[in-house]
Subunit: 819 residues, 2 copies
């Protein structure tokens, strides 16, 4: 029997920018219009009738939702479907005797509606029986309107004029609740139809476009096209608008106005989407459309079949993905034997900070917070994502990709200007584009080596460059725990680790002097500095009560600065005594935070002293900002935290908003000049096919400006040009006090937690955190990816603080339970 | 005085897919409609009036073109502008007494028009004088219709029904001629307005959409929005359709229908484009609109000012780009001192195979054939480019980027399937994604080394992996002249060259045994095989009369095969005798063509023998197909030409259609299995942030299928699954006979020509070809980028043969002249 009607208590509020859970056991479609007045509601009613009268698939109920209705109650699409569908079923009854329970409800009415409307419109129900004999089956048609306004204008105007706002979060909360409502009626399938208002890009009550408002659900779209003169254009444009939001269009259906629009669309859209044509809709307002529906019935049955098959194909594809991925793919950094098929995460889409993940058991799409920021790349909130999508389409259409050397195009030039005026401000004058962090590092090293060689007379003249260098070995000065990428040149600049074994890279030798750095961490609410063993002049660790103290430049005058300085001097002098042919030709550091090394915070004072010692020896300084750049640590460049500048710096990841690969190596004019001569052979001969590709540069331009724009990034403290606190300070301190937590690092968009672990449980290969990670993924909907026994949460520069707090609370709860 | 009217002889035909020359000294705008019937022609007339009456800027003439007109002569937009503008000028005369010469012409009329139309519509002219006293100035208004049909339906229907076709090339030829017509009238600016038909995506006579038809010109667009109910949606969708074709929208202007559409659009489009609102258009057909125009005049003046400023900003930006690029950018592979500012190529856009290049002196945009295929990446014709743009928007909106390891998403999985069913067919079972050719190679080497080590007992067990390997050196077997990328790991696998000097990469040591390969080339119409000195058992060179003979597998039984085999065996045995700790752990070759090495064709027999020798020694075989893959050499994989298969192969460049960076390393299941164990430490620990990013995989999917689809690639010989001949065989042979040509290699999409040069003129650093290259770029509109004294032409897999022939003829002509 009927258990309950849909949307009885639509009070849920969906968090801003959050994706939503979507059941896929039920076929759900959204009806969009190429324009207003193209017959969306007729399609809804026709489809509902076809479904309810269908012997196959046996449909037990149809739920129809009109989230936003204006012109109410004169215009009420839910009421139309409610009243017409039973009538049509009576004309074309199902083959078995059937009882239909039909209902119609409206949840929120504007004061103007309430003042005038007859109350019967709020809630109606009727039971109708078709066919001969006793009813053999019961079916349900539940029609709902969520918000209704009186004036027949766009919802944003109606809401403004009639004084009932309907915020996006409320509307999405309604929709989500409706989606999650269980089926009603007996046996057979439940279908749901959501009908949007106006055209695809018509404003909702808040002003958000229809296509954007419902994007978190990414329901397969039925596009009702326009059969009128000009309708080909508006149908195709509407189709493209849906694609630009990442929707899949399951069918295009339009009225025949004898202009053959359907024929053209059929041919243009072939291999992409089915195009169906409906008979011309009678214009006489007194026509009850029974004849029209009768004429159209075969089309609606065809539409129903198409949608059924679309839905089945979708589920089939989703169900097969884990198996196929195990068979065909080769994941990086992954021991395939340790990944059971059913633990493969099937990502159906992304919406801002969230993945939409398919759960095969539940046949559900579940949102998961992308807490690894997809390898630390992610910047987009859901608004920026759409902006970037539009920009990517534009850049691809305008430029595709064009050759870069000796050429210039606007995106490359403009993003260079923004880079030099942002992260490069005050020091850099040149931008060298490449593909990823690793290539940016290899380029930086080549730049530094050339500069060093010229400064130190290693190459007296380029002409004789092969004469004397054979015995000369250039090395880097770097820190233990560092990581700069996986190509050999970048690896050579890092200390030995699990990544660099013979097993992994037989060619690795580690061409550097690697120092042990002092680190900073929070434990039991105190900021501790941990000195490496090799520096234990003083056995005590230093404590601070705030991060500000750690970064304070007055520490330059303290004992710690002297300690660091003499340690560094000693190491450098030992090195130079050990060999006359070896030179430290570059300093390379990740400023403040070593990422892949385990989210270690290096004492900024130590790095500042190190830079200063190198500068006095004319050793070029490289900052690897691939991870730390672009607000990752709360400021645009981590050099602001360090209080000193590099000669060369590398950027990638967040630079493009995390949407497309691109890297940049920035350098001072002095570094650039060391490559100038009259010979091509002294030029920097390193490049990649897609150097400065237009789409990448376009994305970088948009993302860099978005992060630093007060109107686009509400996390920005514009007075100090830094991000406000994103990870709740009190909660972070509480975390640091848990007994199973060894240390916490919280800075900008990063909150890292090292779990206490011993022996094989510690370090990169550790599986210690696995069960916790699986819990967080499966039960808390946080997509965590640990670094051994270090787990971390990472958001984007624009992620709302309350979203961060929600995730942090979940982690805190889990860790408490673990204790 | 008036010299001539626009478009006197519109007979030019623009070659298919060709971009067009566009003068930028003249402001030219295209008027697009959000829908049909939104008032495009009123905007044209209003703008023309505002321009002709304007004291600033002083406009001497306005040319108006309606390329496609239906409903003619009842509807004639040109005729409306022709008749209304003088009338409006009379009502609001310019401040100085002015004589206006107005004309209206129609060039091609369908038979149905000719049968019925009054002839006066074909050509009209009138002279009107405004203002008191003798006319102080003469202005010109020239209105043209290119093609006119009688029925008031979409041009594609009218063309079909009335029997006058108007092919895209003809229409574009008309438009180009109109664009290039010189100004008329005295002093002051010439403005041109092109009015499209219907909405942005309405079909033209051929069925090509308006936005696609005019894309080669990429004129700044004026979008006439829709003020009606639903008009916000159709205006925004139309705007997005224009962006998805790479258009810049200069202004949105729409009628006020008291729905405040303008207010919403103004707010939504702020910071992007100006939105202007016109008074409501009277619906009475008898209204001559004089009052309306009068009311609108200030809006049209504002529009004119906006457009003026849009145009000036555009020119300013274009003019500044050479200077700025010299100051801020750092080009790869470029000695900046050798690039004079005025030789920097300013690329404004790309259309299929052509750049649109800005010539600062001429204030022109000129199409240049991208003969270097933008570092060998390019596959898209103009249709594929638009398809890819739409796909990029969709993928970015649906996925942005999502983390890959242990995850799966549809584009990564689907493109893996297509890779394994295409280039990997018959051997590969796993796909490892990365960013570019260089990273794909580093990954391939790591795979090969592991497989070799396991097969040869170098690592008895992974647990003890650090015990024995310290003395063991793994090296590659490779060929001199090879190139595999610029990151250190890839470089180490190639022989010493200009790229690998100490000056360039102090860490390079060249970890390989590099053999001299025999090469094949065409000279004086004969295919010669040139044996390296170290193999000169027989002093003769072998000649063939066709390429088929060179690739014929019967050569396996010839003396040459024995010669190669014994040469290889000797080298391998010398190597193994020289050191017991060094192992050749991988063979790495570019199959058939060595690209960066100078477009050298290696004797396929030699490579086949080499692969066979390695296989028998259990040395894993890597094919570097970064350059040769995906039809570059006329077949999907160059291994089809070689007639043997690799264990590992690398792909990039053409894989994504050349639109976005992505690489893939394919491997056999045996190679994959050598990484399996129960420890994470034996997994392949190499990855990049954007591994398998959704946009890249989506592009790859579309491009790979496009190239091999008979309906999308008309170059395909589907019986043999290879490309038809693209570079005219006779012309290639003629080229090979020129005295200044040393050798020619022509295969698939590549035609390379080595110029005779001696000493410093030969080789990578040579500037020998510079003047020829400059001529080809500047006078022949071919963007050539030489490899030292080797010049080459490269097209895409779908480039029409006649376009190739045109380019080849130009090169032939230049080389003849050089003799």
């Amino acid at each position: 029997m009927v258990r309950r009607l849909f949307l009885h208590h639509a009070r849920r509020r969906l968090h801003s920018g959050t994706a939503s859970s979507i059941p896929l056991s039920t076929p759900i479609f959204a009806i969009f219009g190429a324009n207003t007045g193209v017959g969306k509601t007729l399609v809804s009613a026709g489809l509902a009738t076809a479904l309810l009268s269908s012997p196959s698939p046996a449909v037990s109920s149809v739920a129809y939702l009109k989230p936003l209705q204006t012109g109410y109650p004169v215009d009420s699409d839910a009421s139309f479907v409610f009243s017409r569908t039973p009538a049509l079923l009576r004309a074309f009854p199902p083959c078995r005797a059937t009882r239909l329970i039909a209902s119609c409800r409206t949840f929120f009415q504007s004061p103007a509606v309430e003042a005038k409307a007859e109350s019967l419109h709020e809630s109606q129900e009727k039971v109708v029986t078709y066919g001969a004999g006793a009813a053999e089956q019961t079916k349900v048609l539940a029609c709902c309107t969520a918000y209704a306004w009186r004036e027949p204008v766009s919802p944003h105007l109606a809401a403004e004029r009639e004084g009932m706002a309907a915020g996006d979060d409320e509307v999405k909360g309604c929709v989500e609740q409706w989606l999650l409502e269980e089926g009603i009626g007996e046996g057979g399938e439940v279908w749901k139809i959501l009908e949007t208002a106006g055209g695809v890009a018509s404003p909702s009550a808040s002003g958000t476009l229809q296509c954007d408002l419902y994007r978190p659900f990414r329901l397969p779209a039925i596009l009702v096209g326009d059969g009128r003169l000009g309708g080909i254009s508006s149908t195709l444009s509407a189709y493209e608008t849906l694609l630009l939001r990442g929707y899949d269009v399951s069918a295009v259906i339009l009225e025949d106005r004898e202009l053959s629009n359907d024929k053209f669309l059929l041919s243009y859209l072939r291999n992409r989407v089915h195009v169906l044509i409906l008979p011309q809709i009678p214009e006489d307002p007194l026509d009850d459309l029974t004849d029209w529906f009768s004429e159209s019935s075969s089309i609606f049955i065809f539409l129903k079949d198409e949608l059924q098959s679309f839905h089945s194909r979708r589920i089939e594809r989703l169900n097969s993905m884990q198996r196929k991925s195990k068979a065909l793919l080769w994941w990086p950094f992954t021991q395939h034997n340790l990944v059971p098929q059913d633990s493969v995460t099937v990502i159906d889409s992304r919406y801002g900070e969230n993945f939409s993940v398919y759960k095969i058991k539940d046949k559900m799409l579940i949102p998961q917070f992308d807490a690894c920021a997809s390898w630390w790349t992610q910047g987009p909130d859901s608004n920026l994502q759409i902006e970037l999508a539009r920009d990517m389409g534009y850049a691809a259409a305008r430029y595709g990709h064009v050759m870069f050397p000796e050429n210039v195009h606007e995106p490359a030039l403009h993003s260079a200007e923004v880079l030099l005026g942002g992260v490069g401000k005050g020091w850099a004058s040149r931008v060298y584009y490449s593909d990823n962090g690793s290539t940016a590092i290899e380029i930086a090293l080549k730049m530094a080596f050339r500069k060093f060689s010229l400064d130190h007379g290693i190459m007296a003249s380029s002409e004789n460059s092969t004469r004397n260098e054979r015995n000369i070995q250039l090395k880097v000065l770097a820190l233990n725990g560092s990581y700069h990428g996986d190509t050999l040149g970048a690896m050579e600049a890092q200390a030995p680790s699990a990544y660099t074994s013979f097993l992994q890279q037989p060619w690795y030798s580690g061409r550097g002097l690697f120092l042990d750095p002092p680190t900073v961490y929070i434990k039991s609410e105190v900021y501790n500095i941990s000195l490496p063993q090799s520096m234990q002049h003083d056995p005590q660790t230093y404590g601070f009560f705030s991060q500000a103290e750690v970064f304070c430049k007055t520490r330059d005058k303290t004992f710690a600065a002297d300690l660091y300085s003499s340690y560094i001097k000693q190491k450098l002098s030992e090195f130079s005594l050990s060999s006359s042919s070896e030179h430290l030709a570059a300093l390379i550091i990740e400023p403040v935070i070593q990422g892949a090394g385990g989210m270690l915070m290096i004492d900024p004072l130590f790095q500042r002293v190190l830079v200063s010692e190198c500068r006095s020896r004319k050793i070029p300084v490289i900052f690897d900002e691939v991870f730390t750049g672009f607000w990752r640590l709360g400021v645009e460049s981590a050099s602001e935290l360090l209080g000193c500048l590099p000669d060369i710096a590398c950027y990638a990841k967040l630079m493009t908003g995390g949407i497309i690969p691109l890297a940049a190596t920035l350098a001072t004019e002095e570094v650039f000049e060391s490559f100038e001569s009259d010979s091509k052979l002294t030029a920097l001969l390193h490049g990649h096919s897609y150097t400065a590709h237009a789409m990448g540069c376009t994305a970088a331009l948009k993302a860099m400006q978005w992060y630093r724009g007060p109107s686009t990034n509400s996390n920005l403290d514009t007075d100090h040009m830094k991000l406000k606190e994103l990870w709740d300070g009190t909660l972070v301190k509480q975390l640091s006090s848990l007994p199973n937590v060894k240390r916490v690092v919280s800075l900008g968009t990063l909150c890292a937690i090292e779990l206490k672990a011993e022996g094989a449980d510690a370090g990169y290969a550790s599986l210690y955190a696995s069960s916790l990670v699986q819990q967080l993924r499966k039960e808390d909907d946080i997509y965590i990816r640990p670094l051994g026994n270090v787990i971390y949460l990472m958001c984007g520069p624009c992620t709302p603080r309350d979203s961060c707090t929600r995730q942090l609370l979940k982690v805190h709860r889990r860790l408490c339970a673990l204790n």
